[in-house]
């Protein structure tokens, strides 16, 4: 990251963005990031992002929750403090199910939420690098890294490609 420089440019329509991203990729440029005001479908496929592993994280979290929740109740009623309730067996499995279920959901939701925050570097106090305040409104911004070894050529090339796509406000950013 440090002093890597970027060229940013934006579009005003998601369809234009999609076409341009395709075009830019075809020209062999790498795209560092695309900032959009709402999730644009099919964009991650174009950018070559793989699917997130969040579901798997949730599954593992849920499984841990289920096992812990169930075993906790089982341990209480068979070891810690066995009590007779209405003549039912100490390990009365049907009545452990509701709490086990709730623990499953709770653990799964927690693990996914925090996995999401950690993986994306988001959280309380995280500072966003704001390239353009309208990105959260109606601008779709592409960020293209400059090849430092051949700086001026790279900038010219990128600008040329971006201008072909009709991008607005093409500029070099630190």
């Amino acid at each position: 990251m440090n002093n890597q420089q970027y060229i940013t440019a934006y579009y005003l329509d998601d369809d234009d963005l999609m076409k341009s991203v395709k075009h830019i990729r075809e020209k062999g440029l790498s795209i560092n990031d695309v900032l959009t005001p709402f999730p644009v479908h099919g964009l991650d496929k174009l950018l070559g992002h793989r699917r997130s592993y969040l579901p798997q994280v949730g599954f593992i979290g849920g499984a841990i929750g289920a096992i812990c929740g169930f075993y906790f109740q089982y341990w209480i009623f068979t070891e810690a403090y066995p009590l007779n309730f209405g003549g039912k067996p100490f390990a009365s499995i049907p009545s452990f199910i509701p709490v086990t279920f709730e623990c499953t959901v709770l653990f799964a939701a927690f693990s996914m939420f925090f996995a999401f925050l950690i993986r994306s570097g988001l959280g309380l106090g995280a500072q966003a690098k704001i390239h353009d305040e309208k990105v959260t409104d109606d601008r779709f911004m592409v960020i293209i890294p400059i090849d430092e070894s051949n700086r001026q050529d790279s900038i010219n090339h990128i600008e040329a490609v971006l201008n072909e796509t009709g991008a607005k406000e093409v500029k070099v950013n630190g």
Binding site: P37, F77, P98, V99, A109, M112, A128, T136
Partner: protein
């Protein structure tokens, strides 16, 4: 994605993305109107009444309520169940409708989910105050203590503790997940320094990066997948509070799905009551259209009819079972001293929503508003009827009794209404009440000025 021209647009007027942002954030800019001040004044007054009721209950004890030895659960539990039920619409809209890909949910999910959180807060208050000593409320949490005692995991009341707290937490996470991008929008639009700093903190450093969006969508979907069974489980467990007992009128297997259906029914009614006013007051009529109202009314009639069928099933099986106690419980409901409550319930829940079979009524805002209030009342009476009529005539005729709430109980109920509306009024000032990003994502396919884009 292609959308058939047969479908009505979900967003009216010629809008572009910027206009959407402007429209939805407009209510938060500038000073609140005098109606807002009147509203919050009234709500705070109601909250104050609740505060007084709370102090009296804690100072003198539960004896200040109208309960007696036969009827141990009065308004307190009625209100608990009513509030929890109201919360269900939010999760239903954002989770189940998301899974069923109903696009109309995007305009109402944010505020409905917020109502979920507020309703759960109000609901959670009642069991805590019903225990008499609010400060010892933490006893319900299993924690290692010097007496080596644990809570009773065989008790449905404890399942409730887990269900309601899980529900509250997961709803909060779900709601906040959706809110993060919109808070970033607020941050970028804020001009005041302090406001900007606060929204900056709350938006968790959101930039709108494609990677984040992709993960964010996955997260929302899986959370929806989790929230869908969760919302079923919560009211199911509330119904277990009653149905696991062997009290006639309570011990019936249809309770779990029937309670869930009733909860969604009442939740939608509350969403409609508030949104019909809010869309007008906040100039959001282009986003929450008559089409949205009609869709919600369709859910009301579906869930209302399910509730109606459940009532009839209960009546039939009470006869069919041949159990005389069961039969008496239902006779007593319909014809006993609380028959007035039973018939209010029947009228409001089973008959009035049937008016929605007529398209004209379904699409009339005034009619919808009135019927939604009827449903709110009816569903409150449903819980009242279930709780009071099943308890007040015990197996022992010598303990038969009647119940009327004391002023303190009424004050507590009014207090939670005050809390709910206070929170709602603060919410509409602080957060965008429509999910901006989500509306933008359906704008092209479902807006009025549909450009038939060719996604190949």
């Amino acid at each position: 994605m292609y959308v058939s021209p047969v479908r009505e647009p979900l967003i009216k007027g010629k809008k572009d993305y910027n206009k959407v942002t402007e429209d939805i954030t407009a209510p938060m800019a500038g000073k609140p109107s005098k109606y807002w001040y009147m509203g919050i004044g009234l709500s705070l007054l109601a909250l104050l009444a609740g505060g007084i009721g709370t102090v009296i209950t804690i100072w003198y004890g539960i004896g200040t309520w109208g309960l007696n030895k036969t009827i141990g659960w009065g308004w307190g539990i009625t209100n608990l169940v009513w509030w929890i039920g109201i919360g269900h619409a939010g999760t239903f809209i954002s989770a189940i409708l998301l899974l069923f890909r109903q696009k109309w949910r995007t305009s109402i999910n944010r505020s409905a989910e917020a109502m979920t959180l507020m309703a759960v807060t109000c609901a959670g208050f009642f069991p805590l105050i019903h225990m008499g000593r609010l400060l010892l409320g933490f006893f319900i949490i299993p924690y290692p203590n010097t007496r080596d005692l644990w809570v009773n995991f065989n008790s449905p009341l404890l399942w409730d503790v887990f269900a309601i707290s899980t529900y509250g937490i997961v709803s909060l996470l779900f709601w906040y997940t959706g809110l993060i991008p919109d808070l970033a929008t607020m941050r970028d639009r804020a001009t005041h320094k302090i406001k900007k700093a606060i929204y900056n903190l709350l938006s968790f450093g959101w930039t709108g990066s494609a990677r984040h969006w992709s993960r964010h969508e996955t997260l929302s979907l899986i959370m929806a997948g989790l929230a869908a069974p969760l919302v079923l489980s919560v009211h199911t467990i509330v119904s277990f509070d009653f149905a696991t007992s062997v009290i006639p009128g309570w011990h019936t297997t249809i309770f779990p799905p029937y309670f869930v259906s009733g909860a969604i029914f009442s939740g939608f009614a509350m969403v409609l009551t508030l949104m019909i006013v809010a869309r007008k007051a906040l100039n959001l009529e282009d986003y929450i259209t008559v089409n949205h109202v009609e869709s919600m009314n369709k859910i009301i009639i579906t869930t209302g009819s399910i509730v109606g069928i459940a009532y009839l099933t209960e009546l039939f099986v009470a006869w069919y079972s041949g159990v005389e106690y069961e039969q008496y419980a239902f006779m007593n409901r319909a014809l006993g001293p609380y028959a007035w409550a039973y018939w209010i319930m029947m009228t409001c829940n089973v008959i009035t929503p049937q008016l929605f079979w007529f398209k004209k009524i379904r699409r009339s805002l005034i009619a919808t508003f009135i019927i939604s209030i009827f449903v709110n009342i009816g569903m409150w009476f449903e819980r009242f009827v279930i709780i009071i009529t099943s308890l007040h005539r015990d197996f022992l005729p010598s303990s038969w009794s009647m119940y009327a709430p004391s002023l303190v109980e009424v004050a507590l109920f009014i207090g939670t209404l005050g809390l709910f509306f206070t929170l709602f009024l603060l919410f509409i000032r602080a957060f965008p009440i429509i999910a901006i990003a989500e509306v933008k994502s359906v704008l092209k396919s479902s807006g009025e000025n549909k450009k038939h884009s060719n996604h190949e």
